[in-house]
Amino acid sequence: MSVDEKKNSKRETLEQEIEAAVAEGTADLEPSEAEKIREKVRARVLEEVERERRIRTAAERRAEERRRREEKRREKHPEEGEMFQRFNRNFRFQHIVMFTSVILLIITGMPIKFPDFVLSRFLVNLWGGFHNSTIVHRIGAGMLIYFMVHHLFYTVLSRQGRRDFVLLIPTPKDARDLVQNIRHFLGKVPEKPRFGRFSYIEKFDYWAVYWGCVIMIGSGLFLWGESIALKYFPKYILDVAHEMHSDEAMLATLAIVIWHFYNVHFNPDRFPGTLMWWHGEISEHEMKEEHPLEYEEMMAKRSKQEAAEVTNR
């Protein structure tokens, strides 16, 4: 049954119910009087419908939208199974702010490190000259600093944030996973390592960003406020900050381009990339493939909840 059909049948039942109630209430009245009351009721119902339509919150509308999408998807790819939320809205927002700022920082920063590179002049002229390019770099820097602060608060204040942070801490299992993964690549063992919510690959990505942000923002602030910095530090400290900023930028860029891009874009499972960063959802199939431990944990939790509900009833 399609959504429209469902809606129609629902409306029809409701209309019949009202009709019946009105007919019952006006049975012993004159036809003209009955018609008046009927008219009143109709107007009142319309008013109520309109009000209902208005008070449906944005969240409800989104949920409806998601349900509809989900249904469509399930019709198209039944093998994918149920969809789970992997990244919440707050987390997705952080990621978008971060990658926007990092892209801005790279395209305005790399031309300073490599003035002879073919694209450098183009990238600088993109903003209408070097001066503007430095302003864009500082805008990117501002965004990255905001992201860092936001993420720190998120880690401390949000339940999901705290949970994820704990799960992102490297454990001995990660080392074992790495060894097994390599053995799997080499054909020594048939099974892939079974990852939890975050594989060692994702943990590396996360901590690389952490480390990168600390170094880049720290050294970048020295260069941004060079005049203030020189009040308290000798020039050779600024030279060190400059070198760190430049080298760490290179490291971060390579880590993103090689490691992150391979794992989320060029990996044959993902090519040319998924929209997970946008909708934050992961299919049951992918869950089982990539995060089997988390999936099992989720299922265990769900069955426990269901069992609890049954006992409560």
């Binding site: 009040k231 020039k235 030279d239 060190v240 070198e243 760190m244 044959p268």
Partner: protein, 418 residues
């Protein structure tokens, strides 16, 4: 002139003329000569069909500096009727000019019988010679350049005598001097003879030449005397006076014929071009070694933010001259130098207002060596190793993953959507 004076003058002149005529066998007067030579169509034909006009414009002659004289003053053998006249010898009345000319490069070549080289008449004219101060004169300040360029812009002559490229000479027109005299009509603007001399022109490679390296600062200082004073005190000026040939003179940085304003992007001392101009000597291994100059000045500058920003056209950043000065450059060892340790905070403070003593702690031209910048060196080595190792590990991990997939025969794309 009032009529009386005019009358007396004429009488005197007539008397003098009569006296002269009486002693010098009464030669013809100007009017006599112009009986024939006043005819605009008078000309001589040569066997090869060429013709030579023998016309003398009376008005031009009368207005010329020699207009009060007679034809006989220059052409003593001109007695009617006459054939080809002997050469005019200006030196008879102008012995100093003749002497200077005979020692000049023009005069020396002329003495060898080369006809292309200018004699007196080529620059000064013939019957229409005017004073150099006369705005209509060929050698007047605002006209003389064209007189010189008639030959020095001629490609044939330039090739025949191995003269500097015609473009070099013609570049003068677009130079700050050329534009000042041509466009603005400024009498103070340097024209050819101001630098090269007039009668006594010599090539710049001869020590006696006004344009020889050792004479250049003095030469430019004729007009730019304040700057000459500053230059004389600088390390470059002292070096030049001490006879050090590599020590730069005005033209090394500013150019010569093509000198333009420093605001012109074509200028060698335009902000963007300064580092390369200085590097012409300071990046020269031989010069830097011979005079014990600090090395790697250019590369360390270009590695700095200043250098990169300047390359991208940000002209507000520091170039060599912003810190070191220009005409009055002094070595950092000199306490008066803008880049001496004590003066660095003040010099850097021009742009970085909070710059204090901290600016002098460390090097401005950072050479990344353990001796000069240990901190930077350590960071660079660490990151080189770190980045190198990580990239190798990334590539290994990815490579093994891909090879594994291939071995297992997994489809290339759409792994989860099969």
């Amino acid at each position: 002139m009032n009529p009386l004076r005019s009358f007396l003058f004429t009488v005197l002149l007539a008397a003098a003329g009569a006296g002269l005529a009486a002693t010098a066998d009464a030669g013809p007067t100007v009017t006599d000569c112009l009986d024939c030579h006043g005819d605009a169509t008078i000309e001589k034909s040569f066997p090869d069909g060429k013709t030579l006009s023998l016309f003398v414009d009376e008005k031009e002659f009368r207005q010329s500096v020699h207009g009060k004289g007679t034809c006989m003053s220059c052409h003593p053998d001109a007695k009617a009727p006459h054939g080809k006249l002997g050469a005019v010898t200006c030196g008879k009345c102008h012995p100093d000019a003749e002497k200077s000319y005979s020692q000049s490069t023009h005069g020396l070549v002329h003495a060898k019988g080369v006809q292309d080289v200018p004699g007196c008449d080529d620059c000064h004219g013939r019957h229409d010679i005017r004073k150099a101060q006369d705005p209509k004169g060929r050698t007047f300040r605002l006209n003389v350049v064209e007189a010189c360029l008639t030959c020095h812009e001629d490609k044939v002559i330039e090739e025949r005598y191995g003269l500097p490229d015609q473009k070099v000479m013609a570049a003068y027109r677009e130079s700050v001097h050329g534009r000042a005299q041509k466009k603005s009509g400024l009498l103070g603007a340097a024209v050819c003879p101001d630098c090269h001399g007039n009668h006594m022109i010599l090539p710049g490679d001869q020590p006696r030449s006004a344009t020889h390296r050792q004479n250049i600062p003095t030469l430019c200082g004729k007009c730019h005397s304040g700057i000459l004073e500053e230059y004389e005190r600088s390390v470059h000026g002292k070096g030049m006076r001490a006879g050090i040939a590599e020590s730069p003179v005005c033209t090394d940085c500013h150019g010569e014929h093509s000198i333009t304003k420093i605001t012109d992007p074509e200028s060698k001392v335009y902000v963007k071009n300064i580092p390369r101009t200085c590097t012409a000597c300071h990046g020269n291994e031989a010069i830097a070694t011979r005079y014990a100059l600090p090395k790697k000045r250019f590369s360390t500058y270009m590695d700095s933010f200043h250098g990169v920003a300047l390359e991208y056209g940000m002209t507000t950043v520091a170039n060599c001259a912003s810190c070191h000065g220009f005409h009055g450059i002094l070595p950092s060892s000199d306490p008066a130098s803008s880049v001496s340790k004590a003066n660095l905070p003040k010099t850097c403070g021009k742009c970085h207002p909070n710059a204090g003593a901290n600016f002098a702690k460390g090097y401005v031209h950072v050479e990344v060596t353990p001796q000069k910048a240990m901190g930077v060196f350590v960071v660079r080595v660490f990151y080189t190793i770190f980045i190198g190792t990580l990239v190798i590990l990334f590539v290994l991990h990815i490579g093994m993953d891909l090879l594994g997939r291939r071995r297992r025969g997994e489809p290339k794309t759409g792994g989860t959507k099969e």
